[in-house]
Symmetry: C3
Subunit: 275 residues, 3 copies
Amino acid sequence: MSDLHLLQRSPGQILQHLREKVPLIQCLQTPVSMDITANVLLAVGSSPAMVCAAEETAEFMKKADAAAVNMGSLTPARVVEVEAAMKFARDLRKPWVLDPVACGSTTFRTNNCVRALDYKPTVIRGNASEILALSMACTKSEERKSFGRGADATDTTDEALPAAIALARRQECVVAISGSVDRITDGKIVVEVHNGDALMTKITGVGCSLSALVASCVASEPSCVLEATCAAFVLLGVSAEVCHARNPGVLRVKMIENLYEMEAPYLDRNSKMKV
Amino acid sequence: MSDLHLLQRSPGQILQHLREKVPLIQCLQTPVSMDITANVLLAVGSSPAMVCAAEETAEFMKKADAAAVNMGSLTPARVVEVEAAMKFARDLRKPWVLDPVACGSTTFRTNNCVRALDYKPTVIRGNASEILALSMACTKSEERKSFGRGADATDTTDEALPAAIALARRQECVVAISGSVDRITDGKIVVEVHNGDALMTKITGVGCSLSALVASCVASEPSCVLEATCAAFVLLGVSAEVCHARNPGVLRVKMIENLYEMEAPYLDRNSKMKV
Amino acid sequence: MSDLHLLQRSPGQILQHLREKVPLIQCLQTPVSMDITANVLLAVGSSPAMVCAAEETAEFMKKADAAAVNMGSLTPARVVEVEAAMKFARDLRKPWVLDPVACGSTTFRTNNCVRALDYKPTVIRGNASEILALSMACTKSEERKSFGRGADATDTTDEALPAAIALARRQECVVAISGSVDRITDGKIVVEVHNGDALMTKITGVGCSLSALVASCVASEPSCVLEATCAAFVLLGVSAEVCHARNPGVLRVKMIENLYEMEAPYLDRNSKMKV
């Protein structure tokens, strides 16, 4: 962990800034993860708003501190909403996070995720299969045609790392891969996060919530996007692992309890980052 | 609390009527609060139905005892559904509750909330910023242009009370403002409810659930709309406060437990209303 | 319980196969029950995917092991999605489960449920009122015109059994009726399941989750559809009843815990089936 000094803010510092600022996050979220996402954001101290209509996005985005755009359960009507949110986030220079849910599993999904890159996401967060699929699709690589199984990864974050670095460089953004070891990169530095609990994959919407949590952290520390992204991973990971939960039923309840009660020094003491 | 005799039914009496009647409530609800709303209604003893299509509302509303119409995550497709529900509720003389979510935060939202008033809601329940915005918008007051932050209030119920009274008089309905002290008025009497727990604002969908609970109580006691509205606030407030919860994770689970187990005499003993 | 030998697989055997296979289930689910459905499927060991757009169903269904199609909160846009899912499930010979939510409560709902039968569901799971309404609607019986109250049954599974048997024979499928005693039939054999807890009806989305759990079990044991359907009922029923819960708040959390921790021998020891 010798190069941690490259990171200019600790997770605890970012958590503190988040709680002072109470950032307003416009969430374009799939219905399946709206409830957990909103509860995660409220517990940590930010303010979620499930505003989605293209008719009001231009006006609402002005008040928002960041946006979280999730491609889950995508429909043609949803594409219109999502495009408006991405456009205004970019035009108003608001940080925004792309969650390319199930990218690679159908052409419709992959094409819409690739098109989202035109709007310059600040952070892209996905699992290994989604990041691999997105990176290869936007270079029109023909090596592989199928990735993942729905929202579940079938690749490791280690396998997806070169694709993540390439994507981060091309897009000039931060790319974050969730997995048993999380890997986050801005194309230059790679940070590993070793916090978390394997049971998190057995609760629906945890990845979606994490993306919205990344948006909350980046909104609180917009000049340190890499650090803020890492902070979100550490925050959710520590909140989960200190439960020592034996099953997902209790983990869901306790993870939210811990997010609410988390103190900055405790977070920094339990953070397991490696640069 | 000297004028409590003005209220013709106690919360406990209304709870008892609700459990005897098992009112069927048609809920037009934003996806983010559907789960908690349905669980709150089932726990207390009413029967929620998430029927929304304009194609079936006319027929379904005949069977329903009341409707709860929520303006959250409003989209053009949703506007069509909501308008049908409001129209048939009015035409069939079913009590219905308007929840003007995030009214004041965008023009699209405010305009649709103002238009909803044409359908004569029986009760309007919102937070202080939403009620202020709605009341001023329908008098075309130009004093203020921006209200609230998404679904969160930035005003107190005390500040919003004159607007609530004016709105109740103009609309001939009950207006209820949620806050650390809730204030409910029919334009003549003002009732304060001092039950509840500040942590309720850290769980998504509690306000939305409360509106549907108001619809359940009014459906059970349609000739005492003011009392029934107060009963819903007391019921949810007592269910939350007796948890003595330290965080929103446990509060969400226990509040629903308490709603299910609540007994009428206990409710009346713990009710903190002031007229 | 003398004719149990007619069933070729025990619930425990099917649970074991499910966990080895991790079936991918495409869920067309009403938003109100998406969260609990996905969590139930993840807990038991299958992989839910909330893929709904007609634009990607043809491609996604090829990867899926089964589909669960729920008619709740049906809208015209949803009808298009649901029809695509049913068409491709049939054409690709994937097992799929129809949940005719609130069939009988409006003409729009009933007509769409009847039309779904053209796509040859492998299993139909509903409550007594829904099964009665569906069976009578597709024979154009004019005896009764109104059924159920929204998603709640007003008939018993005993009363609905002849309709279920007739429906199973006409459709050559399995029909399963949820109730205090569950009854499952392929038109020849009738299996009763006596597991479960009356409190399950006080949690929203339990029936919807059960339908998706049926899809998971059938995907794991496609040659034993009757047994797989019964296994899903036993699995959810045992997971609920061993909680000895006093209220729905705690039952929801603990039922998911038990699904995750359930062991095959324990399941078979606690199974209460009668042929």
